[in-house]
C-alpha cells in the first residue's frame, strides 16, 4: 500500500525526500545553514532506535516477570488484563507532554514515559500466554517431578512464546511510533524533521516519514523472525 501511495507521488517529492536523507540541503529559516543529509539523519535515527530499545528493555524488566509469575500462579487476571485494556487508551501526545511537564525533559524521562506505553501489552500477553497453555503438559510436568520454577521456564514459557512475542511486538510498535514525537520532550529523533517543516522543508518532512516507516517495518520484521526462531518446531506442525 505504501508503495502504491509512493507511486502516485509527483516524482519530485520522492526524489527530493531521498535526496534529503543523504545530502545536506540549505534551509530557509536558518539563513543558509545546511540541514538534512546522511549524518544528521543517521543521528536522529539512532537516537530514536536507542530510546526505543531502552524503553522496551525497561518495559520488559518491569512487565515480563510480573506477567509470567501471575500467569503461572493464575492470579491477578483483573490487573493483568485490565492494565492491558487501560494502556490502550493512553493518549500518546498527552503522555509525552505530561511526563515532560511532570518529571522533566531528557532521554531518561522520555524512556520512562515510553515504558508506560510498553508495559501494558507485555504484561497482558505474558499473563494470557501462560494461562492459555494446555493444562495437560503442565500437570504432567508437575507429576513427574519438576519444581514450579522448572515448570514455568521449561514448559509454560516455551509454549507461551507466540502470544508473548505478539505482545512484545505490539509494545515495540507503540514505543517506536511515539518516540517519533520525542522532540517535543527535548529528545531529538526523526520527528524533528517531521514536526518542523519550516526548517526542513517538505522534502525533510517526507524524508522523516519515510525513514520512520522503514525503521518501524524493519523492527517488526526482525521481531517476527525472532518469534519464528524461538517458537518450537513442535508447535508449528500439523498432525502427520
Amino acid at each position: 500500500m505504501t508503495a502504491l501511495i509512493l507511486l502516485h507521488l509527483p516524482p519530485g517529492s520522492i526524489q527530493g525526500a531521498l535526496e534529503f536523507i543523504f545530502e545536506p540541503q540549505s534551509s530557509n529559516v536558518t539563513g543558509g545553514k545546511m540541514v538534512g543529509g546522511f549524518d544528521q539523519t543517521l543521528e536522529l535515527a539512532l537516537t530514536q532506535l536507542e530510546v526505543t530499545i531502552f524503553a522496551l528493555a525497561l518495559s520488559l524488566v518491569l512487565a515480563l516477570p510480573a506477567g509470567l509469575y501471575l500467569g503461572h500462579k493464575g492470579v491477578g487476571e483483573l490487573l493483568a488484563v485490565g492494565l492491558g485494556n487501560a494502556g490502550r487508551a493512553i493518549p500518546e501526545l498527552a503522555l509525552i507532554a505530561f511526563m515532560a511537564a511532570a518529571i522533566g525533559v531528557g532521554t531518561l524521562n522520555l524512556t520512562i514515559a515510553l515504558a508506560v506505553l510498553g508495559i501494558p501489552p507485555i504484561l497482558t500477553n505474558a499473563f494470557v500466554g501462560i494461562r492459555q497453555v494446555d493444562r495437560a503438559p503442565v500437570e504432567a510436568a508437575r507429576g513427574i517431578g519438576m519444581t514450579e520454577r522448572e515448570i514455568l521456564f521449561k514448559v509454560e514459557l516455551p509454549l507461551a512464546i507466540p502470544t508473548l512475542m505478539a505482545g512484545i511486538r505490539l509494545a515495540t510498535i507503540a514505543i517506536v511510533a511515539t518516540a517519533t514525537i520525542a522532540p517535543l520532550a527535548g529528545v531529538l529523533t526523526l520527528g524533528d524533521y517531521i514536526i518542523n517543516e519550516n526548517v526542513y522543508g517538505e522534502n525533510g518532512v517526507v524524508a522523516g516519514a519515510i525513514v520512520v516507516a522503514v525503521m518501524a517495518l524493519t523492527l517488526e520484521l526482525l521481531l517476527a523472525a525472532l518469534q519464528r526462531r524461538l517458537t518450537s518446531k513442535g508447535l508449528k506442525l500439523s498432525p502427520a
Binding site: 500500500m1 501511495i5 487508551a89 501526545l93 498527552a94 517519533t180 517535543l184 517495518l217
Partner: protein
C-alpha cells in the same frame, strides 16, 4: 481546518517544541506550577469544545471506514483461504507504520487536513478488525455449519444467519480495541492538520499541566465511553452469551 502555527523560539533549541500561547488568562495558572487549577478549568472548559468535536469526528470516521473495509476484506478472505495471509500481512504493514509518519507520507497526495488524518487513522485500525473478524468466523463450530447446510441453507444464508451472528462477540471485541486505540492515537492528528484534542496540548506548552490533564482526560473518557457503548451493543447483540454467563 487551519494547522496550528508551529513556531520555534529558536532553531535547534531543545525542549521548545511546544508552541506557547501564553495569554493573560493562562499565565497565572501556568505560573503556579500547580498540578491542576480547578478555577481555570471551570472558566475555560468551553475552549475544549471544538477540539473534542473534531476528535469525535476523526475517530468516528476512521472507525467507520476501517470497519467497512476490514470487515469486507475478512468476509471475502473467509471463503478464500489463500487471501488470508496476504491480507493479514498488508493490514499488518499499515498498522506498523507509525501514524505520524503515515500523515506525512500522505502529505504530497492529500496535503494537510482532516482527510489525511482520517486516512491514516483508518489504516491504523484495519488489522485488528480484520483479524478479529477472521478469527471469529473461523471459530464457529463446523457442526453448526453442517447442521445449517443440512437443513438446506445456502452458503450466503449460512454466512449471514449463522456464522456472522456467532462471530459477533469476537468482531465487536476487535472493534472495541480498534476504537480505543484510535481515540488515543488521534491526539497526534494535530500534526496532520486535522485538529482534535492534540491541538490544545500542543498549543499549551509543556509546563501547562492543567491543560494537558484536561485534554488528555477528555480523550481517556471518550475512549471509555466508546468502549462501554460498544460493550453494550455486544451484550445486546448476543443474548445467547448472556444466558451462558448466567
Amino acid at each position: 481546518m487551519s494547522s496550528p502555527t508551529l513556531t520555534l523560539a529558536a532553531v535547534g533549541e531543545v525542549g521548545k517544541g511546544f508552541i506557547h500561547e501564553r495569554t493573560s488568562e493562562t499565565l497565572p495558572c501556568q505560573a503556579t506550577e500547580k498540578l491542576f487549577c480547578f478555577d481555570w478549568a471551570k472558566e475555560n472548559i468551553d475552549r475544549y469544545g471544538t477540539p473534542t468535536l473534531q476528535h469525535l469526528e476523526l475517530v468516528s470516521l476512521a472507525v467507520l471506514f476501517g470497519f467497512t473495509i476490514a470487515f469486507t476484506l475478512a468476509v471475502l478472505a473467509h471463503r478464500r483461504r489463500w487471501l488470508q495471509s496476504p491480507l493479514l500481512a498488508a493490514t499488518g504493514v499499515l498498522y506498523t507504520i507509525p501514524s505520524v509518519a503515515f500523515f506525512f507520507l500522505l502529505l504530497p497526495l492529500t496535503g494537510r487536513g482532516v482527510d489525511t488524518a482520517v486516512i491514516a487513522l483508518t489504516a491504523f485500525n484495519l488489522q485488528v478488525i480484520y483479524r478479529n473478524t477472521i478469527v471469529g468466523l473461523s471459530n464457529v463450530p463446523s457442526s453448526v455449519k453442517e447442521a445449517a447446510r443440512g437443513i438446506g441453507q445456502t452458503d450466503r444464508q449460512i454466512l449471514w444467519r449463522v456464522e456472522l451472528p456467532l462471530a459477533t462477540q469476537e468482531i465487536i471485541a476487535g472493534l472495541r480495541i480498534a476504537t480505543v486505540s484510535t481515540v488515543a492515537i488521534a491526539t497526534l492528528a494535530v500534526f496532520a492538520g486535522g485538529g482534535g484534542l492534540g491541538a490544545p496540548i500542543l498549543q499549551g506548552g509543556i509546563d501547562f499541566k492543567t491543560n494537558i490533564i484536561i485534554a488528555g482526560g477528555i480523550a481517556i473518557l471518550m475512549a471509555l465511553a466508546f468502549d462501554l457503548v460498544l460493550l453494550t451493543i455486544q451484550r445486546l447483540a448476543t443474548p445467547w452469551e448472556r444466558v451462558a454467563r448466567a
